[in-house]
Symmetry: C2
Subunit: 369 residues, 2 copies
């Protein structure tokens, strides 16, 4: 790997984006740009692909249009800021971008057209869709969350330095998954048999102490709750290397939904579906069927709340879930029995039981699609 | 450092705790234990010490007492589980402990006396206070959060392995601060001039990209919001090595309160005050006075909410804050002007301005006590 480089592709696309607008203006045309529509009606789930993506519908944003003029201006302002970030090879988070926009829109404009960050978020998504580029390539850092350990080396070309981290040598801490796992970073010496995703950090720590990933030779990732873009992308990258991906979450609608966002992507991020979804992923547990398999779990259940039950009902409607009869059954069991199961509860009989549960499920292929 | 060892002190104290109770029972006395009271009336702030601690008041918990009998039994059950964790050299989080208690209280007892985790939390604190031992030594992992980078090596005796991590070589990721930074872990080769605490991870990432800690030779820590026990303890440890500690947070009651918990500890954790408080810490910003110093910040302010203002009023009442006239002024300015300032806003003029702000504040000793 050479010296760290900025993504010239992003720079080029941003420049083309700007030039088209300037060309429109110079030709006395209404300045505009075209983007794939991110509206609900353009979100598609193709069972053969196995993930959520956008359809063919496009939308135009233009300037001379009372309903769109402000939004158009704001998007162009964002594009201009990102162009500078990319050129200067500096990153920031959307909160930093927001304050840059609040500070000044350019040399001659003192208008404050951004009052709330909530205004800029959907515009960044517009820009991503218009350019066909993820925000990571626009030098906008997404939230950083998630931890990993396993027989993997990370080569991170950061600043002027080449940092090599062996994620099998980080002890109790593990490796903190960054927001961008694509630019100037590589995962080498991947000597693992599979990837295990564990919803909760506390359970990851328990398994890490048991040396689970070492004994099993797997890569053990915790998204620490809902998975960030970075963590989902990393899982996708390991799947691309041919590693099976198993997900081990709470046995409730929230844990299951975390699984589904990893597997099929999410509605909000359908525009980058192929990049972050891992349709090959399997669900190890917790499931309602576990209550039959592991007798002691019967006394470990917690009561499902009204919100849990409502969410279960909603999930039954998602086509990417309802095509699997096993999942329909699970959701119906929640609605009927009104209980849930936390992954932590496997520690009931003894702290080390969690690992045995995972091993047994994998060995017997006792998983959900 | 030798092989990882369990904290024999904890084992001994837990055994003494149990033996005393058995002795009471055998002598036909009401079984009891004594602990330092954690009630509000026993929380003290001594300005000479500079942190919150517990006074001399004690409380007795005993068994033959309708108001205490269940609580007594629960605490003894927790002590028994922790004794086993310590003996077997295994850790879990309080959620894992909760399920162990739910599963079984012992060989002959099938009673379920724990229904909600909220019941076990205060009991763990009782036990910590009764034993004079932090939960980390009872092998209970606290929440893990926070990231660090700097010229520091971490020697982590984890499992059977000695892991050495150079936290200056972790690139974009940084080193994930674990829940326990005391047992079987050491911080060596500390070659830094000071510690900089940065509230938000996004701002930490920005400074990390600028190589701020490298250029300044400091240790840069982000608690990622409110600081965990582990992060606070780590800051204390660096202060014990003689390093000055500077805190850089949002200019609002929440950012300021994060500072105060780092500096003086917190009411809830007063029983371990000396272990986690860093009274030497200085506050670099953001402050309301910054609005005078940095003219552009005037247009970066956000509106303070009613909750912000109410909290500011409450903070004026805390004796550890009200002894500092600078802080009284800051809080009064918030109440009067009804605005707040985020640390991200320093990126307004240019992304690299944050570093300049910190450097200037340190150079000119322009900080709050």
């Amino acid at each position: 790997m050479a010296k760290p480089k900025r993504d010239s592709n992003a720079e080029e696309r941003l420049e083309t984006f700007g030039k088209e607008i300037v060309k429109d203006i110079r030709s006395n045309r209404n300045p505009k740009f075209i983007m794939t529509s991110r509206s609900r009606s353009n979100i598609e789930f193709d069972p053969r692909k196995g993930f959520l993506t956008l359809g063919d519908k496009t939308e135009e944003r233009n300037f001379i249009n009372t309903a769109q003029s402000k939004r158009f201006m704001q998007t162009v302002a964002i594009a201009s800021k990102c162009h500078r970030f990319v050129k200067e090879n500096q990153h920031t988070a959307i909160r930093g971008l927001f304050y840059q926009l609040k500070y000044s829109l350019g040399e001659d404009i003192d208008e404050n057209i951004f009052n709330e960050q909530s205004e800029s978020n959907p515009l960044i998504e517009d820009l991503e869709a218009a350019l066909g580029l993820k925000r990571e390539y626009l030098n906008l850092n997404a939230t950083k969350k998630g931890v990993m350990a396993g027989n993997v080396k990370v080569v991170d070309m950061f600043g002027d330095e080449r940092n090599v981290t062996d994620t099998s040598k980080l002890g109790r801490s593990g490796w903190a998954i960054p927001s961008d796992v694509d630019s100037n970073i590589e995962f080498t010496d991947v000597k693992a048999r599979y990837v295990l995703v564990v919803e909760k950090d506390a359970v990851w720590q328990r398994l890490n102490e048991d040396g689970f990933w070492k004994k099993e030779n797997c890569i053990m990732i915790t998204p620490q709750g809902q998975a960030t873009r970075g963590t989902r992308r990393l899982i996708r990258k390991f799947a691309d290397m041919g590693l099976p991906v198993y997900v081990f979450n709470d046995g409730d609608v929230w844990g299951w939904y975390i699984y589904w966002t990893i597997k099929t992507g999410s509605i909000n991020l359908a525009y980058i579906g192929s990049d972050i979804a891992t349709p090959e992923a399997k669900f190890l547990g917790m499931t309602m069927s576990d209550l039959e398999q592991y007798d002691f779990l019967k006394k470990m259940t917690m009561k499902a709340t009204e919100i849990d039950l409502k969410r279960a009902q909603e999930m039954l409607e998602y086509p990417w879930i309802s095509i699997h009869k096993e999942w329909v059954e699970e959701l119906k069991m929640v609605i009927k029995s009104k209980v849930k199961l936390e992954q932590d509860s496997l520690q009931g009989p003894r702290l080390t039981f969690i690992g045995d549960y995972i091993r047994e499920k994998i060995a017997k292929k006792y998983w959900l699609p």
